[in-house]
């Protein structure tokens, strides 16, 4: 009997000790991890507004200041949880908003920049995805993201979409975008997510925003 109690006590004690150690380290570094995450997000948003480029690099420590100076959130009355930003004191109607949806393996999250006056996509960034590295994972490569640039979403196609992802190298119309060979699942997931997000943003923006 005492052997059983000793085993139990030992297990509880060791578990408590290691839990304590791990939570201690987590508590020590938590703030740093939070800052890293928020800097990474702000960096993506600033990049989509063209405020951080490969020629104009900004150090991690300056990202929050730049973000606070240049960017303000936009709130829509019909969906207050919708994450959307624009530049402060800008005459342009460029918005950056968050999107998410089911990818081939895991959820795909990211941001899209749109010009609501000319109805064009300014850029797209994927902040989180679990697609196969080298195949679907290519969505985060600059070359793939560039395929969305300057695309107009003023009118819908007859099938109700703004764009269709087609076989890589075969896109020859404004409403067709090259997909990724070997990643048909990812391509059609991205097609679905981007079309849905753009339609949703258009419907929100029509209702007017209340800052």
């Amino acid at each position: 009997m005492s052997e059983k109690i000793r085993t139990l006590l030992f297990t509880v004690a060791v578990t408590a000790l290691f839990t304590l150690l791990v939570s201690g380290i987590n508590a020590l570094l938590k703030e740093r991890i939070e800052i890293n995450r928020s800097v990474a997000r702000q960096r993506v948003i600033l990049g989509l507004f063209g405020l951080i480029t490969s020629e104009r690099q900004v150090a991690d420590s300056e990202v929050p200041t730049l973000f606070a100076e240049q960017i303000e959130p936009v709130k829509f009355a019909t969906d207050t949880a919708f994450e959307c930003y624009r530049r402060k004191n800008s005459t342009e109607d460029v918005f950056v908003f968050a999107f998410s949806g089911q990818g081939f393996w895991d959820n795909i999250l990211g941001f899209i920049a749109v010009d609501s006056k000319s109805q064009q996509i300014r850029g797209i960034e994927f902040t989180k995805h679990g697609e196969t590295p080298g195949l679907g994972g290519r969505i985060s490569e600059p070359e793939f993201k560039a395929r969305f640039k300057e695309r107009s979403f003023a009118t819908k196609r007859s099938d109700g979409l703004y764009f269709r992802m087609v076989a890589e190298g075969s896109a020859n119309r404004g409403d067709e975008i090259d997909g990724i060979t070997g990643a048909t699942g990812t391509s059609s997931a991205v097609e679905k997510i981007v079309n849905r997000s753009l339609a949703y943003f258009a419907s929100l923006n029509q209702g007017g925003n209340s800052n």
Partner: protein, 204 residues
């Protein structure tokens, strides 16, 4: 497997070739398939595994005389998990970009059978210093298999090496090499070659 205790650097050395955990014991296959399509991910995975192995083996060995036999496996998993979470937190805090790219791979070190194989098979019965050497040896042995496979899969599948394009763009990429099944083929071929070399050595 262990005929009498192997001590000191002999414990490290045998893991590289004679008792290599992947080739000889067919352990750690799951991660060998998952991460070897990119050299960079493989390298971080290997370093993470070497650290986890060394620390887990050391800790288990220190506690080996007080761990009740009945719960020894649970305690080992607990110790391994604690070190892996430690690596994950440190990566998140200091190398957020690499941590983001590796995604779930770091957490998967917990499920790497080599770690538990070494803690249960060696550290539970040997002194701390020997156990560290045994753990590091097993980690390096694992790396010696994974890195060459990654060095073949990444160039053939993606035309790049360590993320840098090394093969001209008109090269037709072998998409097959990027997905997990090719990991099986590459690993099997590697084990076949090594086994042939080994048995050739024995005959002589």
């Amino acid at each position: 497997m262990n005929n009498g205790p192997v001590k000191g650097f002999a414990a490290l050395k045998r893991m590289l070739w004679e008792e290599n955990p992947v080739i000889g014991q067919i352990l750690g296959i799951c991660s060998a398939l998952a991460v070897t399509n990119l050299v960079k991910n493989t390298l971080v995975m290997c370093l993470g595994l070497i650290f986890t192995l060394a620390m887990s083996c050391f800790t288990v060995s220190l506690m080996r005389n007080v761990i009740p036999r009945r719960v020894r496996m649970i305690i080992q998993v607990l110790i391994i998990a604690a070190y892996v979470i430690f690596i994950k937190i440190v990566l998140d805090a200091f190398l957020p970009e690499i941590s983001n790219e590796l995604g779930p791979y770091v957490g998967l070190i917990i499920t790497n059978c080599i770690v538990m194989g070494r803690t249960e098979g060696y550290a539970m019965a040997n002194k701390p210093v020997d156990s560290i050497l045994d753990g590091i040896g097993a980690g390096i042995g694992y790396s010696l298999v994974l890195l060459p496979i990654a060095m073949i899969r990444e160039p053939l599948g993606l035309g790049s090496f360590f993320g840098i394009q090394v093969i001209p763009a008109d090269w037709t990429k072998w998409n097959m090499m990027v997905i997990a099944p090719s990991g099986f083929f590459a690993l099997a071929t590697y084990i076949w070659i090594v086994r042939a070399l080994k048995s050739g050595g024995e005959k002589r």
